[in-house]
């Protein structure tokens, strides 16, 4: 169920959404974009596949608004819409993905960027020598942007052998959540879509999120590269106390 606060003409907009994946890198990256560009919340999405979650506004400490498991934000200037997910999946997200793909079609959203990550140990020897970032684009997007990817020297996600005995290969994003399933749905619906992913390991994944945001910004050009803003992303206030409270005074 999607509820928008107001009707917004989203035709021609770019949608970014994270897939709940290793180290929550996609979600952290969307948080950075929302906080840096000051996106405004325009709606919510409720789906029982996610654990219900509420908290105060993650981007403005003076706001009385709340955040929930899935919120929708918009930036009219940049023609950008973002869906942020803050909760893990406990069921197959079939209804959620259908709701999102129907929303994309109904609102004539022109491009979808799915941000995700994959387990670092999945990289093979040959991949260790390259940047730990890959992309996977639908045919409709490649028709218009193949040269851009080439100019950026981006590396497409390499297929992996299914087993050691046959020559069969398949595209896999191990630890990438629903990214590939949504990609396949959008590919079928002929919606231009790109999955941008980073290989990483679990830990403090803020550096991974910054790297992924910098990387996809080369393509999306959301944050002005001429300004000093690049590399100086605004951290949302929800990132405070990431490693817990300050130690109690009593211990000193």
């Amino acid at each position: 169920m999607i509820k928008l606060l107001e009707e917004v003409d989203l035709s021609g907009y770019t949608l970014i959404l994270p897939s709940v994946s290793v180290g929550n890198v996609g979600q952290l990256s969307v948080d950075l974009v929302i906080a840096t560009l000051g996106l405004k919340r325009i709606g919510r999405l409720f789906d029982p596949a996610f654990i219900p979650l509420v908290g105060a506004d993650p981007y403005d400490e003076n706001s009385e608004d709340i955040c929930t498991a899935v919120d929708i934000y918009v930036c009219r200037e940049k023609k950008l819409i973002a869906i942020q997910i803050r909760s893990p999946l406990v069921k197959r997200p079939i209804n959620f993905l259908k709701t999102v793909s129907d929303f994309i079609s109904e609102k004539n959203i022109s491009k979808v960027i799915i941000l995700t990550s994959s387990f670092g140990h999945e990289k093979r020897d040959i991949q260790l020598r390259t940047a730990p970032l890959r992309y996977l684009a639908t045919n409709t997007l490649l028709e218009q942007d193949a040269k851009t990817f080439e100019d950026l020297s981006w590396i497409a996600l390499e297929p992996k052998p299914i087993d050691d005995f046959s020559n069969q290969t398949s595209l896999q994003i191990h630890g990438g959540g629903f990214a590939k399933i949504l990609f396949e749905i959008l590919q079928k619906n002929k919606v231009p879509c790109v999955v941008i992913m980073k290989y990483c390991s679990e830990g403090d994944n803020i550096p991974d999120a910054i790297e992924l945001t910098n990387y996809f910004n080369q393509y999306a050009k959301l944050i002005d590269t001429d300004s000093e803003l690049l590399g100086q992303f605004k951290y949302p206030c929800s990132w405070k106390f990431l490693f817990g409270n300050s130690p109690p005074k009593e211990i000193f």
Binding site: I51, P52, L53, V54, A56, E64, I66, T68, E202
Partner: protein, 240 residues
């Protein structure tokens, strides 16, 4: 001794509720958990005030201090024999106590089941609890417990809660969070209260915000408030 000596153990991620995000892992949770609301008499057409109680210490407090002689007017059932929640009625107020053994993974589906009922409610409240050590804040808390809240935009318009709003990055999960999400989407008045206590038991001091809250919500003093019973700390300190 570890049983996986010599084996390749793939790391898991905090991002996934299950160990992995593989398709098979999602199969363990059924899509339809079969929740239903069953009323002893007729289902109410409108509900002026509905209070949802979630969490063991708040549930025990409510059952022993607020609902001692209240009638059960409905239950929320699933495939198991025991109801997942019981709905009581005091005057015009409906109080729903969620079983403390209910699983967090069921909260989304349970919210969906309750959605029909939620749309009939004028004022919806939820009360839950957590340990004070889980409250991330720069604020120094001297008292044994503190009550924080989060509310829907409709409730925020009607009240000024600024001082007691739960600050970022604290979050609430579970059915309370589910009903607040649904209420905010449907523009229903909803406030959820979170009692942060310094112990896992209640005593007369750290339960005082709860007694005040119930007196306000029920618009009368709590009739049988005693600091004895299973939900209160009543052991001596002399011997273990």
């Amino acid at each position: 001794m570890v049983s996986y000596f010599g084996e390749v153990v793939h790391p898991s991620s905090r991002a996934f509720w299950n160990d992995d995000d593989d398709d098979e892992a999602f199969h363990c949770h059924e899509d339809n958990l079969g929740f239903s609301i069953n009323w002893t008499n007729e289902e109410p057409v409108t509900i002026k005030k509905f209070i949802l109680i979630e969490g063991q210490i708040v549930a025990e407090f409510t059952l022993s201090c607020v609902l001692k002689d209240a009638d059960i007017v409905g239950t929320i059932d699933n495939k198991s024999e025991k109801p997942i929640a019981k709905i009581y009625k005091i005057d015009d107020v409906y109080i729903c106590v969620i079983d403390s053994n209910s699983e967090l993974t069921e909260a989304g589906e349970l919210t969906k089941t309750l959605s029909h009922l939620l749309s009939k409610i004028e004022k919806l409240y939820a009360i839950t609890a957590d340990h004070l050590s889980n409250l991330k804040s720069t604020e120094e808390i001297d008292s044994e417990s503190t009550l924080k809240l989060l509310c829907s935009s409709k409730a925020a318009k009607e009240n000024n809660f600024k001082d007691c709003i739960l600050n970022q990055p604290n979050i609430v999960t579970g059915l309370s969070a589910g009903v607040l999400t649904y209420a905010d989407i449907q523009d229903i008045f909803c406030i959820i209260y979170i009692l942060y206590t310094d112990t896992f038991d209640l005593d007369s001091k750290n339960a005082s915000p709860l007694t005040k809250l119930f007196s306000t919500l029920l618009e009368k003093p709590i009739p049988q408030f005693k600091t004895s019973g299973p939900c209160f700390f009543n052991k001596g300190n002399l011997y273990m």
